[in-house]
Every structure is written in structure tokens, then in C-alpha cells.
């Protein structure tokens, strides 16, 4: 069933008058600066709008409705309390530029959030400003550049990035004016240390690493890697995409990382919102602390205030119009307080238990782990190379068929170096029976692939649409509706 566009519900003159003021005046705008033709916005009743968007919402999979094992995205339960308390009216109505005196309650939460994040990451200082993981990465690499520049080593502009890295890593390097030096992973999933040793040199700014890596395994020789990079004068950057795997178990600061970003919308359970908002707080070691992005919450004599350029003259500057994604940070704060001290390491423990259990069950069911010798971290990779070759049913086909069985698909075709891969991250908030249901579905799809491959290749059948014509979408661009 196609759902009409909101514009197709419009009737000229229909409007929701309870929602805006009646005015008798006209706009006081000089003729040449005035709008002549009204924008094409919907002309619908409030009920029509409510019904339309409620119906659209029902055309989504979400954590609240479906198991959503999207690898590298940490789709765990988003406690409702975090939303409700972050949306208390006093918090919502406060203007970001209102005096600090009007925001002491809010600032206290932010200050305590900074302290808790320092503790769980082992970093010296934290800034909450970056608005998503990629902006956190940007802040991190910009700080590394600023650090080298402060030591008269501006020429250090090479960033070492493993081949399995997220696309944001090399994209960030470019945005910071750095060159990317890619190094390979070994068949075991670890980084090739010899290649790393060859890659470092006098122009090395640092290395960007995720640990556990995007291959779903812990980088066991992290200390040797830290030494190689540090000896070469570079810094270690930790991409916190996979922090859920090690929360409370290992701290990036203790592994030797100088700069990290955290994805609060992953590890600390703030909502993903259909593509954001996120929050990409950054943490640093003492030598990088002077370069943190602004603002940061400071505490003096039991009162809180935003630090400015005067407090941190070497800062890389500001990355947002105000204070970053304040309301997201509030949700992360509430979540961390509800987990408490003991709850932090439980996150990693049960995320690992769920991932290793799923891996073991799928392996027993005949699926091929990409790294069979390794423990799963909080996620793992299944490769469907064999199915693609023997049955002509690939990872995309399995993913689409899973939707029919009521499961959101895992991440597909990432990391790129594992062919026909499914990157599966169950998170700690899923119950055993839901994991079992997912395994049963994959077993059933495998059986279908063996007996009726066309059925799997034609999936999905039960969703609002079947497979979409992406080529047409890109070639016959239709990006806005015209009546």
C-alpha cells in the first residue's frame, strides 16, 4: 500500500488555526525584500497531519518494535526515562545564551557527565561539544594537528588508518587537511605490525583505531602499536564506535590513546532518531588537553559555568552554534546515572555474552564466522561468501529476507574487506529468546536459499514496498515533490 504524500492531503484554505496567532497587521517588509508567492507547505488539519505521520511511523522498523542487530551502531534499548526527564519544561525552555546562573541544574548534569566519561575512558579531560561521532573525529584530528603545530611540527600530516576503518576516518582526515596512509589487517583480524612499523615516520601525525576493531575482534597487540606510533612522534586516536564492547573492562586511556571520541548515541543509549541526533564527546590525555573544543563546563566554588576562549586560548575552537547537542547529552547523563558504577561493566559483559552466544549458535547452524579463531567482542562477522558462490544468494538477499521474518538486518557489506559479510551486534538489552528467534530465522532462510533461491532473492514480501530501484533513484533524480 502506498501512503500518500502529505501534500496530496492538502485542500486550499485548510489550516490548523489553534496552532498560531491570528494577526490583523501585515508584514512590514520593503517591497523588494518581500515574499510574493507562498511556500508550498501542506494545507491540512491537525488531525490529518497527526494521522499521516503516525501512519508513516508505522512503516519503520525500530528498536522499540524489532530486534535491530545493526553492527557498529549499538542499537540497544533507549530507556523512556531518559527522554522524559530531559524534556522537563525548565530544561526545554532555557535559552542557550541565558546567563549561567539560570542553568545551574543543567550545568551540574553536564559537569558530572564530563567526570563520569573521564572515569570510564581513563582520559584526562573531556569536551561534550561535538554533535556526532564524525564531528568528534574531526575535533580529535584537529586537536592532533594543533598539538603537533604547537611543537613546531606542522609537517606531521599523515594519518595511519587500518583498511577496515569506518569511512568517516579517512573522510575526517581529508577534512583536517591530512593525508591517509592505509595499513592492512592480518587474516587473524589484528593489524599488521610490520606494515605499521613501515608506515610511521617523521610525517606521522598519528593513527586512528577502533578497538575492538570493525572486524569485531579485540586488537591484542595494542600496547606494541602504541609504542610504535608514540616512538615515531605520533598520537593514538581512539574511535569510540565500539566502546560498548569494553565499557568498564578496559579504558582507552590505559591502552595508551591520546585522543578519543565517544558515540553517546551508541554506548550511552541516546536515541538514534532515524539518523540522529548523536553526540560525539571527545576525551584527551594531558598533553592534548589545551586544544579541546569549546565550550566545556567548569566548576568554581560549587557553581558551574561554560569555559570560553579566555580559559582555553589554544582551543581548536567552536564546532556548533551553541553548546553541541545539549539534550542528547542530558539523556546520556540520565542513562549513566541509572546504570551506576556496577552497571558500566555489565554493559560490556552482557553485550559480549549475547554476541558470543549468537556467534556460537550460528556457527553450530553451519554459518561461517569471518574470524573463526577469535572471540567475538560485542559484535562479529558472518561471511556468506559460500552461499553466494554455491547458491547465488548473497548477503543482501539474506538481509532483505530477514526483514520478512521481523528482524532488522545486520550491517551488510561493511567492513569492505570481508566479502558478503553480515556485521551482527545484538547489544546487551536483548533477551535470549529474541536471539534464538533470529538464529531460527537465519536457519530457515538458509534452507530457503538451498531449496528456492528465487524466493530469497525476491525478498522482502511483507513490507510496504519490495526491493527498490536504486539505479533509477540515482539516475532519474526525484528529490522534491512537484504537484
Amino acid at each position: 500500500m502506498t501512503e500518500k504524500l502529505i501534500f496530496q492531503h492538502s485542500r486550499t484554505g485548510r489550516t490548523a488555526t489553534a496552532q498560531y496567532p491570528a494577526v490583523s497587521a501585515t508584514a512590514e517588509v520593503p517591497e523588494k525584500l518581500r515574499r510574493k508567492k507562498r511556500p508550498m507547505l501542506p494545507e491540512v488539519s491537525e488531525l490529518q497531519a497527526v494521522r499521516h505521520y503516525t501512519r508513516l511511523s508505522q512503516r519503520n522498523f525500530s528498536i522499540d518494535t524489532h530486534f535491530y542487530p545493526l553492527g557498529s551502531c549499538t542499537m540497544k534499548y533507549n530507556p523512556r526515562a531518559c527522554n522524559q526527564f530531559a524534556m522537563l519544561p525548565e530544561f526545554l525552555n532555557r535559552h542557550p545564551l541565558a546567563p549561567d546562573a539560570t542553568g545551574q541544574g543543567y550545568l551540574a548534569c553536564m559537569y558530572e557527565l564530563q567526570e563520569m566519561l573521564k572515569d570510564v575512558t581513563g582520559m584526562h579531560s573531556v569536551s561534550l561539544t561535538p554533535m556526532a561521532g564524525a564531528q568528534g573525529e574531526f575535533a580529535g584530528v584537529a586537536m592532533m594537528r594543533a598539538y603537533h603545530k604547537s611543537r613546531n611540527e606542522s609537517h606531521r600530516d599523515e594519518l595511519i588508518v587500518p583498511d577496515a576503518a569506518h569511512g568517516t576516518n579517512p573522510a575526517t582526515a581529508t577534512m583536517c587537511g591530512c593525508k591517509v596512509v592505509e595499513i592492512p589487517s592480518l587474516p587473524s583480524g589484528d593489524i599488521d605490525l610490520e606494515a605499521l612499523q613501515k608506515a610511521v615516520g617523521p610525517n606521522t601525525a598519528g593513527i586512528m583505531l577502533t578497538n575492538p576493531s570493525t572486524l569485531g575482534v579485540f586488537e591484542r597487540r595494542i600496547k606494541q602499536m602504541a609504542k610504535i606510533v608514540h616512538d615515531a612522534g605520533g598520537l593514538l586516536y581512539y574511535d569510540g564506535a565500539n566502546l560498548n564492547a569494553i565499557l568498564g573492562k578496559v579504558r582507552p586511556g590505559d591502552m595508551g590513546f591520546d585522543v578519543i571520541h565517544m558515540n553517546l548515541h551508541k554506548t550511552f543509549s541516546t536515541p538514534h532518531g532515524g539518523g540522529g541526533p548523536g553526540a560525539g564527546a571527545v576525551g584527551v590525555s594531558p598533553r592534548v588537553a589545551p586544544f579541546l573544543p569549546l565550550p566545556i563546563v567548569g566548576k568554581e566554588n560549587n557553581s558551574y559555568r561554560w569555559l570560553t576562549e579566555k580559559d582555553l586560548p589554544q582551543s581548536i575552537g567552536r564546532l556548533s552554534g551553541f553548546m553541541g547537542n545539549a539534550g542528547v547529552l542530558m539523556r546520556a547523563y540520565i542513562y549513566m546515572r541509572m546504570l551506576g558504577k556496577q552497571g558500566m561493566s555489565r554493559v560490556a559483559e552482557y553485550a559480549a555474552l549475547n554476541a558470543n552466544y549468537l556467534l556460537a549458535r550460528l556457527r553450530q547452524a553451519g554459518f561461517d564466522p569471518a574470524y573463526p579463531e577469535r572471540r567475538a567482542s560485542h559484535e562479529f562477522i558472518i561471511t556468506l561468501k559460500r552461499q553466494a558462490r554455491e547458491l547465488n544468494v548473497n548477503a543482501m538477499d539474506f538481509a532483505k529476507r530477514l526483514l520478512d521474518y521481523g528482524f532488522h538486518a545486520p550491517t551488510t557489506y561493511f567492513p569492505l574487506l570481508v566479502p558478503e559479510c553480515l556485521l551482527i551486534e545484538p547489544t546487551e538489552t536483548e533477551a535470549k529468546e529474541d536471539l534464538d528467534g533470529f538464529v531460527d530465522a537465519l536457519i530457515e532462510i538458509q534452507r530457503e536459499a538451498e531449496t528456492d533461491a528465487a524466493k530469497v532473492k525476491g525478498a522482502p514480501y511483507t513490507l510496504p514496498v519490495r526491493r527498490l530501484d536504486d539505479v533509477r533513484a540515482a539516475k532519474q533524480l526525484d528529490l522534491v515533490w512537484r504537484s
Binding site: P39, L319, G324, L339, Y350
Partner: protein, 454 residues
């Protein structure tokens, strides 16, 4: 265990399947000397009731004030239906619509959003959001370097009456790729004039940035500025307030030939997003079709499925980091989807008529405020021309001190811009929306008069 469903039986059975004696064994690949010791700064867990009580106390501590600050974030009425729908789990707890078939709700909404923003700004295409208005300006500058093939300089003209934080952010973000920003000064009316641009007549300029209304709330002569830029091969990047576009000429029609601005950005916060101490908001960016491949961020396209039915999907992904990696148009991945959801529902409910009335009322209230305040001895308006809903007020006293005293009257009286613009003197940027009643304005004027006559 908060949010962890496992029973002891579950754990036992799962470990048996894994073949591990206990959960800690699962971490055996981590070198022993790296294992974390206990945490010291994370307190013991709170129940939902306890954290609720704590947050209520903290919220009460922050209190409630009459607000007259704008400066890039604006308090508008938000229909109750907006956040009731936004916080439905199906929107709230979904992610980027990678599996299009299982995300048609989010995708169709984003397509509708793109349509609304393109129409509001008078442009042809929109993306699905950037982080906020400030970072959107940075992205627009980086985009202009790619899109303006006539220019080799990566040099931008950035008037000082563009939001000063936006300027700082542009330098912090885009400065890393060696973009240069030349500051253009405003005249006695608070506006950018052709005279101020004259010295760049023969320079290679990638783009001129124009904020309308500018940071002071004044209306720029956008046609003349656009013509000047286009005549010399520079692009025009418009920074706009979406509410104002209900009554102001859309950037897509700027210039005497109506060719329009090339890239339009701004903060979408006024469209149904609460102030909330600074975020999350969202940035918007719209442009002409010819530049769509240079635009950063997610873009949604309408297409058909294998049975010919209408469907929506992420498109032009070859611009993005997960495909293009180091050669992507931006490193942006997660954007501000949920806030776009709010804005789309907000625009659907208010419609063009509602948005227009909100804009007119905001402007009327500002006029009322300026008249009330400047009737007080020692208070005058810095500039006289046409405004939208903000104005710069000059005082004879230190602005910070006056604002502190106003706070004791329960009034957040505006944003002190004296430090940003020392030449203006004791300058206060004030703002009104439809939320500031005539009574609020009278209360503000009365309090200010008392303070200044002390």
C-alpha cells in the same frame, strides 16, 4: 540489572553453548594488565524514581524566566502533536534508513521535508539535514569550493554582521582545508553595502556570505549584494532564519535577475525544536540541482519498487563517506534526523498561513519592544532600517550589569553583544516571537526603566 534481561538460567545456558566457564572468559583476549580497575567517579545506580526526583530538583533550580534572547535560537510555540509523534518509538528508536524497505516512514518523511525546505528557501533541492546552522555554514563554504569552478582562491567574504559564532565555527572547521575568510564591515545602518565590497572588485572570490535578516535583525539589500557577487563569478551563500522566509523574499529569488543564491543554509530550530540550552537543533542546506552532487549529507530520492510502487531510498550515496571515504564531500554520517521529523510535522501543522502569521506577530512584537524600550531615557536603537524580530539596543550603562539586575526581575533581557562589537558600545541584542506578549514587553520596559533610573 538495569536494562539487561538475562536470568541466571539464561546465562548458564548461553555460556554452555559458547563453551566458556564464565562471562569474564569472553574477555580473555584482552591483555590482563590492561583490565580496568573499579570506577571512582560514577556513583551507584539510581532507580527511575530516584533519577526522576533528582532531575525535577535540578530543573526547578533552573527556574522559569521571561526570555528576550534570540541570536540564533528562537522560542516559538510548538504544537503538542509535534513531539507526541516525534517521540513515538518508531521514529525515536530507529536509525539511518539503510534498509529502505524497513524504513519507508522515515524516508517518506525526509522526502517531504526536502520538498518543504526547497520550497521555503526557493531552491531546487535539499539534503536530509546537517548538525546545526553554524556547522551548515562551514559545510556550505566547503561545498562552494567544489562547486564554483570559476574560482581557484577558496576565499570567502564573511560580513561581521553574520552571527559571530557561525563565523568562528566556519574558521574552526573549514580553516583546516585552508579556506580564507575576509571580514566585511557593516555600515552605520548595520548593513553590508556595495561600498564595503568595492575593494574586492578584482579579487578571485569563491563566495559571498549574506545573512538575512543579519545578526542584528536588520534586512540586507540582498538583491544588490547578490548581483555584485554573481557579476564577478562569486557564489552567494545565504544564511537565513526559516520562519522569516514566510514573509521575506526566498534566497532562490535574490538578485535583480531572480537567479537567486547558490547555497542556502540555516538553523532549523525555529521549526518546532525547543531551545533546550542549545540543542539538539538541525542545520539545513538547499541548493540548485546543478550542484546537488557537491552537497554534503544524506539525500532521499523517490523511486519505484520491483512491482512499480512508489518508494523512497537514500540516493547519490557516492558523495558520502561510507562509499567515497577520503574523497567524500564531508565526513558527516549521523545527522539530526529526529529534529527534522519535528520540523516536518511542525511545518505540516502550521502551514504557510501559520508560519506567515507567526513571522508577522514576531515582527510586530519586536516593533512594540523597541518602541517601549527606546521610550526610556538613555536607551536607543542602534539601527533604524527594516527589521524582522530582533534589534540592537544601546544603553548608557554596562550591559552585563543591567542584564544581571533584570534577571532578579525574572527577565532574561537579551544577549550582550558589546564584547563581539566593541565599536557599538553598550549593545544589547533583543528578540521577540509570538510567545512574548504585550504584557511581557510592558514588564520588561518597566523593569528596565526602574534599573536605569536608579
Amino acid at each position: 540489572m538495569p536494562f539487561i534481561p538475562h536470568t541466571e538460567d539464561d546465562v548458564r545456558e548461553m555460556l554452555a553453548v559458547i563453551g566458556a566457564p564464565d562471562i569474564n572468559t569472553l574477555f580473555e583476549e584482552i591483555p590482563a594488565d590492561l583490565r580496568a580497575q573499579g570506577l571512582t567517579q560514577v556513583p551507584d545506580a539510581l532507580t527511575e524514581m530516584q533519577i526522576g526526583q533528582l532531575m525535577q530538583r535540578r530543573a526547578a533550580q533552573d527556574g522559569t524566566y521571561l526570555n528576550f534572547i534570540g541570536a540564533g535560537a528562537y522560542q516559538h510555540h510548538i504544537p503538542a502533536a509535534v513531539w507526541a509523534i516525534v517521540t513515538r518509538g518508531e521514529f525515536y528508536s530507529a536509525y539511518t534508513p539503510y534498509q529502505a524497505e524497513a524504513s519507508q516512514g522515515t524516508l517518506q518523511l525526509l522526502y517531504e521535508y526536502q520538498t518543504m525546505m526547497a520550497s521555503l528557501t526557493g531552491m531546487e533541492v535539499s539534503n536530509a539535514s546537517l548538525y546545526d546552522g553554524a556547522s551548515a555554514l562551514s559545510e556550505a563554504c566547503l561545498m562552494a569550493v567544489r562547486a564554483n569552478r570559476k574560482s581557484q582562491s577558496a576565499k570567502f567574504l564573511l560580513p561581521s554582521n553574520v552571527n559571530p559564532t557561525y563565523c568562528k565555527v566556519a574558521k574552526a572547521i573549514a580553516g583546516n582545508q585552508n579556506l580564507q575568510f575576509e571580514t566585511i564591515h557593516f555600515d552605520a545602518s548595520g548593513l553590508v553595502t556595495l561600498d564595503a565590497l568595492k575593494q574586492y572588485a578584482t579579487d578571485d572570490i569563491t563566495a559571498l556570505v549574506i545573512q538575512q535578516p543579519n545578526f542584528f535583525g536588520q534586512l540586507e539589500d540582498v538583491d544588490a549584494l547578490t548581483d555584485w557577487a554573481h557579476a564577478k563569478g562569486a557564489m552567494v551563500i545565504a544564511v537565513v532564519n526559516p520562519t522569516s522566509l514566510a514573509i521575506l523574499k526566498p534566497p532562490g529569488e535574490w538578485g535583480s535577475a531572480g537567479k537567486g543564491a547558490d547555497i542556502v543554509v540555516g538553523d532549523g530550530q525555529p521549526l518546532g525544536v525547543p531551545l533546550a540550552s542549545g540543542g539538539p537543533y538541525f542545520g539545513f542546506i538547499t541548493t540548485r540541482m546543478e550542484y546537488v552532487r557537491q552537497m554534503p549529507g544524506r539525500i532521499i530520492g523517490r523511486t519505484v519498487d520491483m512491482e512499480g510502487r512508489q518508494g523512497f531510498t537514500l540516493t547519490l550515496q557516492a558523495r558520502e563517506q561510507h562509499i567515497r571515504r577520503g574523497k567524500a564531500t564531508s565526513n558527516i554520517c549521523t545527522n539530526q534526523g529526529l529534529l527534522v521529523t519535528a520540523a516536518t510535522i511542525y511545518m505540516a501543522i502550521t502551514g504557510a498561513t501559520g508560519l506567515e502569521n507567526i513571522a508577522i506577530m514576531s515582527q510586530q512584537r519586536c516593533k512594540e519592544l523597541v518602541e517601549s524600550l527606546t521610550a526610556i531615557k538613555g536607551v536607543k536603537a542602534a539601527f533604524t532600517g527594516s527589521r524582522f524580530h530582533e534589534a540592537v539596543i544601546l544603553l548608557e550603562r554596562n550591559v552585563g550589569e543591567v542584564l544581571s539586575t533584570l534577571l532578579k526581575h525574572g527577565i532574561v533581557g537579551g544577549y550582550d553583544i558589546s564584547a563581539h562589537y566593541p565599536k557599538l558600545g553598550n549593545a544589547l541584542l533583543v528578540c521577540t516571537t509570538e510567545m512574548n506578549s504585550s504584557e511581557d514587553i510592558a514588564a520588561y520596559a518597566k523593569a528596565l526603566a526602574e534599573i536605569l533610573n536608579d
